[in-house]
Symmetry: C3
Subunit: 208 residues, 3 copies
């Protein structure tokens, strides 16, 4: 199952990088700006998490894989848009498959974050849940702050809530010594809730 | 006097959380966004401080108290606005008492920050003063960055200056081995200057 | 040559502080806001770098020199604008010499960042290059985020690219055990590319 896990993590990284690169394109940034936004979205959450637990250098910067994948994705997005074939490509890489990859990323990043928290501070449930959520949504918040727009996760959609619930599920399953592997359980919790939220167009309550 | 200290710290946390939640409401965020802004405002400054001195996990995340209080405050603000009784409630919790709680928070956060700095690096006065100020105003800056508005502390009011002066006072009193407890002295310095600034509507000079 | 190095570093700090203070003036901030933007621009990149490698407290906060120089620069900019003699002063301190000082800062900050990375993790080339670039451009990004504008380095000009190339050059020269001092080599690489970019008005490609 470990190879499966790695695939989910990479799919999430790619989906997050695409989301960052697309915001960069929309804001008329140059190729450096597009790469920075893709990096911020894909590895920003994990970097903030590692800073909060005091792991240096951050996990995603200990090798080249993540940074190079994100740079590669950025260049691909850039050239697709540049050649103006993006409508055709967007047809292939439909919104639905993008949303699926993004949901896989949300789920795997949540579990990674919560497990880093549990490994370091098993006695701090609130911190563990927070780390899962920050890993999953922190990058998107950073992307929107760099692009000068109010972070979408704070206004729209049910995006952070599945991550919070997944973090709680992870903690409870680890804490309760379930024989079932907590990582897979929590992963499924996030994924299912997120897909339900997408399917039924859920949104969180606002004041008005 | 320790219980007094804890009360001031909690009053400040509540006041800062309210200020964050209100900005979230004003920016039409959902309940998750409101909680994030309240958390950023109430514990963001302390988290940045702990990152700068290398204390992990940050103090406010080592237990559940701060996070749960801030979440509770966010839900209360949310439901008050939702039920549209907020005008009546705002009458009870008048602007004056809010400003008093906020000033208590500014003072207690400044002292906490400066004392963390002094404990770790007593030979670095500039760093100590900076930590006091970051603890006190960093959360509000983070709140405004998340809400896409220029941080109010950079443009209006005399808000950071009392904190800077209080940090200097704290350092001088610790360094000079005053018999009077430096924490209370510095706390009063911040509080008095802040309340004077509010009463006389002081503001810092601008270019024009 | 060490005194030379210190001069370049200070020239860069002064140039970056000026750039931050000018944005603060343009956004009608008060003197505290102007100082915060100058500090963010001049030492923000280095602070982020030190957080990523786990050096606490950050290098620029271990003494008073940087903070006091930046505060001094902020006050000078403030009073020049306040007295409305700034057109005459701007004539003296022409755009050309400002750009030269800024380019020296870009070069020296890149080398400092890359050398911090190499000292800590010589086996991580991507991280080393990233640290050089973050040290050089991170402060400007922070400045623009505080001032609510899209970071200029993400949209305009060839500013980060010289730093990236310089970081790569630094790593290759260190890794290859060149007898020539890598710091000076990389410094010249950044400086020459940046000055060429300014002279020929280069810019990075955009989608449209």
């Amino acid at each position: 199952m470990d190879i499966m896990w790695y695939i989910f993590d990479m799919l999430g990284t790619v989906a997050f990088a695409i989301s960052g690169a697309l915001v960069g394109v929309a804001k008329k940034m140059d190729i450096f700006g597009i790469i920075v936004l893709a990096l911020a979205t894909a590895i920003g959450g994990g970097v903030i998490r590692d800073c909060l637990v005091g792991h240096f250098p951050p996990n995603s910067l200990q090798g080249m894989a993540y940074v190079l994948v994100v740079c590669g994705v950025s260049f691909i997005v850039f050239f697709i848009y540049r050649t103006r074939y993006y409508k055709q490509v967007m047809g292939l890489w439909s919104r639905r498959s993008y949303m699926m990859a993004d949901a896989l990323g949300l789920a795997s990043f949540t579990v990674t974050g919560a497990s880093v928290g549990y490994a370091a501070y098993p006695e701090l449930p609130v911190f563990i849940v927070l780390l899962g959520t920050i890993t999953a949504v922190g990058g998107g918040i950073l992307r929107d702050m760099l692009a000068q727009q109010i972070p979408s996760v704070l206004k729209e959609d049910v995006y952070a809530l599945p991550s919070i619930i997944g973090g709680v599920a992870y903690y409870l399953m680890r804490h309760g010594n379930w024989t079932f592997e907590p990582a897979y359980g929590a992963f499924m919790v996030v994924l299912v809730i997120r897909l339900l939220a997408l399917y039924f167009h859920w949104s969180l309550p606002k004041v008005r």
